[in-house]
């Protein structure tokens, strides 16, 4: 689940795991309300806004959580998958931010759940922790587990997900495979200053979305900047200044949100 800050990702996860009640509609997990103990026993959850008392050790709290589930993973395996083997005897209060994030991952997987809900799991992880996390996610997915995670990094979603749901302001604006989404989201931003004021015919029909155009300046989003430039030159537009940069996610979302129902 991909979206900028404030898109409603955390709220969606909270609804799915039964931490919040929907004002409209209903949520079902394995055909049951998500608050049902039988449903909860099959899911693991990692939240952003949660904590734990710091005086237990890593191994102790994982053992306590294992007791909540009918068929938990062996403690050592859960710790290894989270990359916490060396910290097993450490008190939770002594963990770094990244290690703490790994602990929440260990607590989410220790019950060997069929479905995992992870809210921004890689926030605060260092490079090494992130690598271990990615490999664990891939192992779990290969074992047939369903993993739902939120992120605001398009690259992270592309790397890990088979299906990406883009939400913004609480609305689904795209639901596609990474390849489809990438084709739909313009990856480059073209900022240009022309030798003369630009008119509508100059920009119409280019493989680009116009972010802004005023006087001799325009900002476009496109996946094919070379084709855009060829088109402009073909229409006799001279360029005084040109900059092509990678579009950031915010702009890509803007383009998706404004996607017209029918092509112009």
């Amino acid at each position: 689940m991909l979206g900028p800050n404030g898109a409603g990702k955390t709220t969606s996860i909270s609804l799915m795991v039964g931490l919040r009640r929907p004002s409209v509609g209903e949520v079902r997990l394995f055909g049951r309300p998500p608050t049902d103990r039988r449903a909860r026993s099959r899911c693991g959850v990692m939240l952003q806004e949660s904590g734990t008392t710091g005086v237990l050790t890593v191994r102790e709290i994982v053992d306590v959580f294992r007791a909540y589930y009918p068929a938990p993973l062996p403690t050592a395996r859960a710790l290894a998958m989270a990359g916490l083997t060396e910290q097993a005897a450490a008190r939770i209060g002594a963990l770094s931010g990244g290690q703490r994030q790994r602990l929440y991952f260990a607590l989410a997987i220790c019950g060997d759940p069929d479905v995992l809900f992870l809210d921004e799991p890689t926030v605060g992880m260092d490079v090494e922790a992130r690598r271990a996390f990615v490999s664990s996610i891939q192992t779990l997915a290969a074992a047939g587990k369903t993993i739902v995670f939120t992120t605001h990094y398009l690259r992270e979603a592309e790397e890990l997900a088979r299906r990406i749901v883009v939400i913004d302001h609480g609305t689904v604006i795209a639901d596609a495979s990474p390849a489809e989404l990438k084709a739909r989201v313009p990856g480059k931003k073209i900022t240009l200053t022309a030798g003369r004021p630009l008119a509508a015919p100059d920009l119409d029909g280019l493989p680009a979305r116009v972010l802004s155009a005023a006087g001799d300046r325009a900002t476009l989003l496109s996946n094919e900047p070379a084709a855009v430039l060829r088109g402009l030159f073909g229409r006799g537009v001279e360029l005084l200044d040109l900059e092509v940069t990678g579009a950031d996610l915010e702009e890509a979302f803007l383009a998706l949100t404004r996607r017209p129902e029918t092509p112009r």
Partner: protein, 260 residues
């Protein structure tokens, strides 16, 4: 899939959860030391000098004072343990983490109560041993057992009071509020010194306070009670209902704010 269990056994869950609560409490010296040491300390100052005297009705003053501090001690385990404990966990957002697990809230609460009862028992055993050895307070074993039994069973209103404080107060405020409520309450109920030595105003207020009737359970166990057991129990039940109502209200208010 094979016909594996759909959920984990609740009995084992309760056991593991209680053990975890006990370890957490034990590793917070501010709690474990306070609940065990304070009643002993108070008894040393206010009880030991008079431990071998006899009250006008012929019962042992030492046993009377020991029973008073025993009641104070168990009440403090409940009020401080639940009040500060629940407020701290809410501050750390442990409640959010636990709510997403298959652990039923009833088991989580039962584990906290069991844990508190174990610490209360520990505090009682240490205080009684200290009073016997250092103060020469002599009572039959059945008297001590009756004291322990009635104080543990009668501690429910203080558990409810602790929950009310824990849900109404934030983690920084809860210790102060718990002290501001519990210390004057204990004092005005005659748990620190006999009511006969307190000002007339306090004596007239005491019979309306929960700790006074809790004290009556303790004094009754050592043969120095001044009201029928049924009256004490009725007052304690009434206060339980009141504190529970406040706690449940605060819980629902927070629940609709945080999880609505």
């Amino acid at each position: 899939m094979t016909a594996a269990r759909a959920v984990a056994p609740l009995g084992r869950m309760l056991l593991v959860q209680t053990w975890s609560e006990m370890r957490i409490r034990w590793r917070i010296p501010a709690f474990s030391l306070t609940v065990v040491a304070l009643p002993v300390l108070f008894f040393t100052f206010f009880g030991l000098p008079f431990a071998r005297q006899t009250r006008p009705d012929g019962t042992s003053l030492g046993a009377y004072l020991l029973a008073s501090f025993a009641a104070y001690g168990v009440g403090s385990v409940m009020v401080f343990g639940f009040g500060i404990g629940v407020a701290t966990e809410r501050g750390l957002k442990v409640d959010v983490l636990m709510r997403a697990t298959p652990l039923p809230p009833a088991i989580a609460i039962a584990a906290k109560v069991l844990n508190a009862l174990v610490y209360a028992l520990l505090s009682l055993v240490i205080l009684i041993a200290y009073g016997t050895l250092a103060g020469g307070v002599r009572q039959d074993l059945t008297v001590w057992l009756s004291l322990i039994g009635s104080l543990l069973a009668g501690s429910v209103p203080f558990i409810a009071l602790g929950f009310a404080i824990g849900y109404l107060c934030g983690p920084n405020v809860a210790p102060a509020v718990a002290n501001l409520i519990y210390l004057p309450l204990s004092f005005a109920s005659g748990l620190f010194m006999p009511l006969s030595q307190l000002p007339g105003f306090v004596r007239s207020v005491a019979p309306y306070l929960p700790a006074y009737h809790y004290g009556q359970l303790a004094w009754g166990a050592v043969g120095a009670g001044t009201e029928p057991l049924a009256v004490s129990l009725a007052w304690l039940a009434g206060y339980t209902a009141l504190f529970l109502a406040i706690a449940i209200r605060a819980y629902h208010r927070e629940e609709s704010r945080k999880f609505g």
